[in-house]
Amino acid sequence: MTAAAIRPVRPSLLRRLRTDYFSTPLDALVSLACIAAIVAIALPLLRWAVINANFSGTTRADCTAGGACWVFIKARFGQFMYGFYPPAERWRVDLAALLLIGTVALSFWRGLPRRALTVPALWAVLLVVDAWLLAGGFGLPRVETRQWGGLMLTVFLSVYAGVLAVPLGILLALGRQSELPVIRLVATIFIEFWRGVPIITVIFLASLLLPLVMPAGWDIDRLVRALVGLAFVIAAYMAEAVRGGLQAMPKGQGEAAAASGLGYWQTTGLIVLPQALRISMPAMTNEFIALVKNTSLVSIVSIFDLLGIAQASLADPNWVGMNMEAYAFSGAVYWLICFGLSRWSRHLETSRKTTH
């Protein structure tokens, strides 16, 4: 028997097209409508973004081809990435971002010794070192937070709020599952309060009322106010994600740990949480994606994250009518970040099923 004879019969392309897309009249109609829709959307988009687009030049006058004026993005690129951070100091942002990437990579490296202790310690060190790099002081020139902006603000605001929210969220989730009525009540009220109000009002609350409740003479940085507000809200959402994991745990795990003589914190820390957090990871990643998207709301209190700086750049009289370019660029960056994260969360979900 020759090799050709045992190869499975593969239907021809034409035949597959017919069975997959044109099997019934209705199916054919649907397929044709879809093709029409794709052509109607993709062709003008392609013409605008690529074929008739302008890529070279330095001013608005260089954009003559009628399509997108990517020259604008090129001219503004530094601002979209770093805001008004002094160009001579931007290496600090890059270094802080590299350290962040390194920490993320180390957190997911299984060879790290005593991961349960070293990972939180790594993040704590990272938060301190990056805050020093970004803000300055102790030997570095100071950079005021109002000079921060663009993508770096989006990224670091999300990371700081997210990292602060995780331990708080875990405590809240444990509190809500607690057998002690007072602790359960306090945790539940805290969670439901922050989940029940719009994030915009929380940002207003933080930026208007936080200075009011501080002792006289204390001044809190604008960015820190927004950060505290975001961290509280996201902690409440993280708490619900962790609670999902706690509730998904079979009761026997905690009971067996208690039966072998472990106390509450030992049972929780050694037996319940490690398993529950692994179950909660996809949900927590989804909350982090929501956080990345919601950091855009800080532009309400004139802190210019990526979307805020894109919106603000539209007011430049030298670059009138660049709305579509600014939105397309900022939207694409957000999409890449959030889509990457959501793919990762889905990967976590599927890989969890196979590791046991």
């Binding site: 997959d20 897309y21 199916d27 649907v30 397929s31 879809c34 093709i35 829709a37 794709i38 057998e179 002690l180 009525p181 007072v182 602790i183 306090v186 439901e192 309060f193 029940g196 109000v197 719009p198 994030i199 915009i200 009002t201 207003f204 609350l205 208007l208 009322l209 200075p211 009011l212 409740v213 501080m214 002792p215 006289a216 009761k251 994606i289 998207k293 919601n294 855009s296 709301l297 532009s299 309400i300 979307l307 919106q311 539209l314 709305n323 579509m324 939105y327 900022s330 939207g331 957000y334 999409w335 959030c338 889509f339 959501s342």
Partner: protein, 384 residues
């Protein structure tokens, strides 16, 4: 002494008292600081400001508000606008979301791919992006009033918003609305009665048929008759702008479009998940018991899909309520924009105004999630 330390009950009480004491200390500290700071800054307190004349001009009003009204009336304008935009967006997003969610499950790969592309696009971009995009990118780029886009020659879309016809006299619509409410009550009574009778005798009453008649046909007929009986004020071009009709301001149109498309992406995923959650074995088991396909769908599949879908759907609806506050970014006069924005700037009473705003969102939210918890408890699977 150590005897008490190792007593579980004593330790539990200790921790709870410690938490309460810590909270009380924090609250005392916050109140003391705040009152001291407000005294220093000479800020007014109390809720008297609610009865002051507002003097604020609001571009989109559905109540009897005017700038001569008091601030309480302004608050009510914000609440109505928030509820109206939420209601419209929830209905439109549900319809769009169900269509896209079902399309996502289509056997036709082109259709399911298109639906998937839409879902992945809207879910991974901030809502604020869509709000700004629709407002500054789409609505602002529409032609002026003289080149309006005509929708069936009764409504007109241009860069000043969507101008729709409006009934000059509302009595026919009020009667129609009353009839719809009565039909809803009747359907609920029938549903409860039919379930009781089925549990008692096993006889099945076609609740779906009466539901279709009472909840779909009756409203359509009632509102059609009301529309035919009413006198209409249809917008018409006079000189450079439209006269007559009701103007849905650009902010409303942009916020509605943004909320609808964004939420539809999330609802589509819920619908897909709900339908997929009912395993094939459930259909097969229902057939094996001798149920016909529509009975299997109504009695076995839909109740299980709904149990999966209703809780996330409710939280999406609550998200729309909360997300309507994104209107503040484009100055659509919803609750946050008119109250935390305009009223706060005019009166300076930040604590009272933010507290009222948060309380309103919390009350609406708690009412909805209270209903959701009741529904969850009623329909959840019974386990250990």
């Amino acid at each position: 002494m150590t005897r008490y330390f190792y007593d579980k009950r004593v330790r539990e009480i200790f921790w709870q008292v410690a938490l309460l004491a810590g909270l009380a200390a924090a609250i005392v500290l916050i109140v003391r600081n705040a009152s001291q700071n407000m005294l220093n800054a000479g800020m007014a307190t109390g809720f008297d400001f609610l009865w002051r004349t507002s003097g604020i001009n609001v571009p989109f009003v559905l109540t009897s508000y005017s700038p001569d009204s008091n601030i309480l009336a302004l608050l009510w304008v914000g609440v109505t606008n928030t509820l109206v935009i939420t209601l419209f967006s929830v209905i439109a997003a549900t319809l769009l979301g169900f269509v896209i969610g079902i399309a996502r499950l289509s056997a036709n790969k082109l259709l399911s791919g298109l639906a998937g592309a839409f879902i992945e696009f809207v879910r991974n971009v901030p809502l604020l992006f869509f709000v700004l995009f629709w407002y500054f990118g789409v609505i602002a780029a529409l032609p002026g009033p003289r080149q309006s886009i005509s929708l069936f020659s009764v409504a007109f879309l241009n860069n000043r918003g969507l101008i729709v016809p409006v009934a000059t006299d509302g009595w026919a619509f009020r009667i129609a609305a009353l009839i719809v409410v009565l039909a809803l009550v009747a359907q609920l009574v029938i549903a409860v009665w039919a379930k009781r009778r089925r549990d008692a005798t096993g006889a099945i009453f076609p609740v779906w048929a009466t539901g279709l008649a009472l909840l779909v046909a009756v409203p359509i007929i009632a509102f059609s008759i009301a529309a035919a009986l009413s006198a209409w004020d249809v917008p018409a071009l006079r000189g450079f702008n439209y006269r007559g009709g009701f103007v849905l301001v650009p902010e409303f149109v942009a916020l509605f479009a943004a909320l609808t498309t964004y939420t539809a992406g999330f609802i589509a995923e819920i619908v897909r998940g709900g339908i997929q959650s009912v395993v094939k074995g459930q259909w097969e088991a229902a057939y094996a018991l001798g149920l016909r396909p529509n009975r299997a769908l109504n009695l076995v599949v839909i109740p299980q899909a709904m149990r999966v879908m209703i809780p996330p759907l409710t939280s999406q609806y609550l998200n729309v309520l909360k997300n309507s506050s994104f209107g503040a970014a484009i100055a659509f006069p919803e609750l946050v924009s008119v109250f935390v924005g305009s009223a706060l700037t005019n009166t300076g009473q930040a604590i009272e105004i933010i507290a009222i705003t948060l309380a309103i969102y919390l009350v609406i939210g708690l009412a909805v999630s209270g209903f959701m918890n009741w529904y969850n408890a009623k329909t959840k699977l019974v386990t250990r």
